[in-house]
């Protein structure tokens, strides 16, 4: 047995794995199996599968965002920050659990308000993150923006999102490196900086 708080964390993690494997139409039993409990155990903690899935998706999204924030917080140089942020926004392989989660949600958002709200909020926060980096670069004289920082930030997040989908769909000629380079190519144009890519830790 487990304390409710611990079990809930288990279930959220199991739900994330099950979602990445089976997509947003994942079954209660599939989540239960991933968690190593019976479906009834899940229903003891949640009124239904939907409630758990929302939790799992929300948590996955927060992690995706916060992980990047934490990594870049440790980087002082705006150029390096920008490059790292882009690198971390693209999935390295089609198996990337966090990005698979996000891709599944994209289709759900059309019908499910809660997912639409979550994704919208994630997008906006990512835009804010890029705006900060861009303005930091400007203030330090490193970037010379060819466009409004909001425009650049929105397009950078959009490119990240789109290439995430391509990589998850196993595009044969669009792998991680290529996608990052494509986004960097836009970023170079928009910031007037060569953005020589630093190796990621």
């Amino acid at each position: 047995m487990a304390k409710t708080s611990e079990r809930k964390a288990d279930l959220i993690s199991a739900a994330q794995r099950a979602l990445a494997e089976h997509g947003s139409a994942v079954r209660l039993n599939q989540v239960a199996e991933a968690a190593g409990v019976t479906s009834s155990a899940i229903l003891y903690h949640y009124t239904g599968i939907e409630e758990l899935l929302v939790e799992a998706n929300r948590a996955g999204m927060e992690r995706f965002y916060n992980d990047r924030l934490n990594v870049i917080a440790a980087i002082a140089d705006p150029t390096e920050r920008l490059v790292h942020t882009i690198s971390l926004g693209v999935p390295r392989t089609p198996e990337d659990e966090e990005v698979r989660l996000l891709c599944s949600l994209g289709g759900e958002a059309a019908r499910n308000t809660i997912y639409a709200v979550l994704l919208t909020s994630l997008y906006d926060r990512q835009v804010g993150m890029y705006q900060n980096i861009l303005e930091l670069g400007v203030s330090q004289g490193e970037f010379h923006l060819a466009q409004d920082p909001l425009t650049i930030a929105r397009n950078l997040v959009a490119l990240e999102d789109a290439y995430g989908y391509r990589i998850i769909a196993k595009h044969p000629t669009l792998d991680y490196q290529t996608a990052v380079e494509l986004i960097l190519d836009y970023a170079r144009l928009a910031t007037g900086h060569t953005l020589v890519q630093q190796p990621r830790n």
Copy 2:
């Protein structure tokens, strides 16, 4: 009654509507209802719902692509072509059936090879379409590309895709006009052309 060929066209159209309404987890009965027949009638023509859904998705995708090709074939000027192609690649409203279809598939592609292949092929053909337009513009001296045409084309399609998702998710401040302008902003930077937007017919 109806001839098989006509009925199949009906069923594909019904499946597209049902998909747009219920998402990729659409039920056989929901498609049957949309078509005004019983589920048994569908199973007379298809071995299962999956077969019909693949057909419907494939057909929807082809239409999305071909409609644009046809519209732009009638436009001689590369600038106008580019602007129109971008305009037609973004959904005008969150209810846009074709783009909703495509968004649902994005998540499926992670698990379903056939959808991954279809989406990959659509992406590549769209990239080819933009490359043609860009190279036409260069040869006519209208565009002065700041980047490799393949890079620009890939990024343009990626931006279209991503803003499609945002609009389908009803982003409160990212409507059709805004999205088109954001993509055009990148296109301006990449082509060195002001791309004054023509009103769409």
